[in-house]
Amino acid sequence: MCVGVPAKVVEKNEFMAVVDVMGSTTNVGIIFVPEVQTGDFVIVHAGQAMSIIDEEFAMESVEEWRKLADARTP
């Protein structure tokens, strides 16, 4: 439905931010994520940041996967 890529906000002004995607940088709009801070990771779609990635939930997911995975590893 839509390509979305995690990117780190390295610089921001009112409506735009510079984001880093694994070392490549680009300008994205941040109108939809007004509360975004420098250092946050966002999901970028078609040149706009659509969501801020919540680190705690991301960590929770990884832990969940590990638990499931560990139960399978002999």
Binding site: G23, S24, T26
Partner: protein, 333 residues
């Protein structure tokens, strides 16, 4: 193929393949030679390898090179991957009216510098100027002539277990040029890998009998080059996604715009298929050269029947890879 030439006919993918096969190979009638980047012609007294190539690129100057460097390195590499020792290059320029002479000088200097590095001489040239608007800046056509030293691609010599080596990170040139065009507004701190590979490859040829075949994965990328090898020699090739050397920045940009590094052009990389017992030796030689320092094995020949390229994902599933189908376009979905 369509009735008129479209951009996709020039991108090294399926349409290019068909255009060459259905027009040039058919009309010129050189079926066997068409398998190689340079042809071997019989000159009484000795054997020479000959290749020709045209260079059109936007922008003309890009991080890591220019159309001039590209023209020399590209021609040298076509000879080198065919097992020849590059000696002479000729070049024809088509220049648009109004093109700055200073830029042309820079291009010529880049050519001379790269020729010097590669140890080849530019021995003949030609220029034509066309009306403003009839060309886009400058185009270069080259012919390369090399001393024929050894042959590759003996259908019978390929074996299960032969290793597939790529001589460094893939997609750098494609991404560097795309980013340099500026249309996408993405900054990628990656330079084109544009470089002559003849000295490195010659060292390999001198020190190992294990080389089965070599290709340079230019337009269409590593996937297209390997599909062609697989089809031309009826090889089953399996490469592993985890082993593919891709720079993080290239990966990042590809994710953003929906491109696949396997299909991006390289201008300073070679793919070698080598016998299993020689792969360590060859890797050792390659990694001694700056242009080959990131050489790695990315897969192997798993059979000599079906003529197809498979990719194993990190999950262990396998999928079939085809030639690039039409020009890659940035996508949102």
């Amino acid at each position: 193929m369509g009735k008129i030439i479209s951009l996709a006919h020039g991108d090294g993918g399926e349409l290019s393949h068909r255009l060459i096969k259905d027009v040039f190979v058919k009309i010129f009638g050189n079926n066997e030679e068409s398998l190689f980047d340079a042809s071997v012609v019989d000159i009484p007294g000795s054997l020479a390898a000959v290749t020709t190539d045209s260079f059109v690129i936007k922008p003309i100057f890009f991080p890591g090179g220019s159309i001039g460097k590209l023209a020399v390195a590209g021609t040298v590499n076509d000879l080198a991957v065919s097992g020849a020792i590059p000696l002479y290059i000729t070049c024809g320029f088509v220049i648009e009216e109004g093109f700055p002479i200073s830029d042309l000088k820079k291009i010529a200097e880049d050519m001379a510098e790269e020729a010097c590095k590669a140890g080849v001489k530019i021995v003949a040239g030609d220029t034509k100027v066309v009306e403003r608007g009839s060309a886009d800046g400058v185009y270069i056509n080259t012919t390369g002539i090399g001393a024929y030293s050894r042959s590759f691609g003996n259908r019978l010599s390929f074996k299960e277990g032969d290793a597939v080596i790529v001589t460094g990170t893939i997609g750098d040139h494609g991404i560097a040029v795309l980013a340099a065009r500026g249309d996408l507004g993405i900054n990628v701190p990656v330079k084109s890998d544009c470089a002559s590979l003849n000295k490195m490859l010659d060292k390999v040829y001198q020190n190992s009998e294990g080389v089965q075949i070599v290709r340079d994965p230019t337009r269409g990328g590593v996937a297209t080059a390997l599909v062609e090898l697989a089809e031309d020699f009826s090889l089953d090739i399996l490469i592993k996604e985890e082993l593919l050397p891709v720079k993080d920045q290239v990966h990042g940009m590809c994710d953003l715009i929906g491109y696949d590094p396997l299909y991006l052009a390289n201008e300073g990389k070679a793919i070698l298929i080598v016998s299993a017992d020689e792969k360590e030796n060859i890797l050792e030689i390659l990694t001694c050269f700056p242009e080959g320092k990131d050489s790695v094995v990315i897969g192997e020949v798993t059979g000599t029947e079906k003529g197809r390229l498979l990719l194993e994902t990190p999950l262990g599933s396998k999928r079939l890879l085809s030639r690039l189908a039409g020009t890659m376009l940035p996508r949102i979905c």
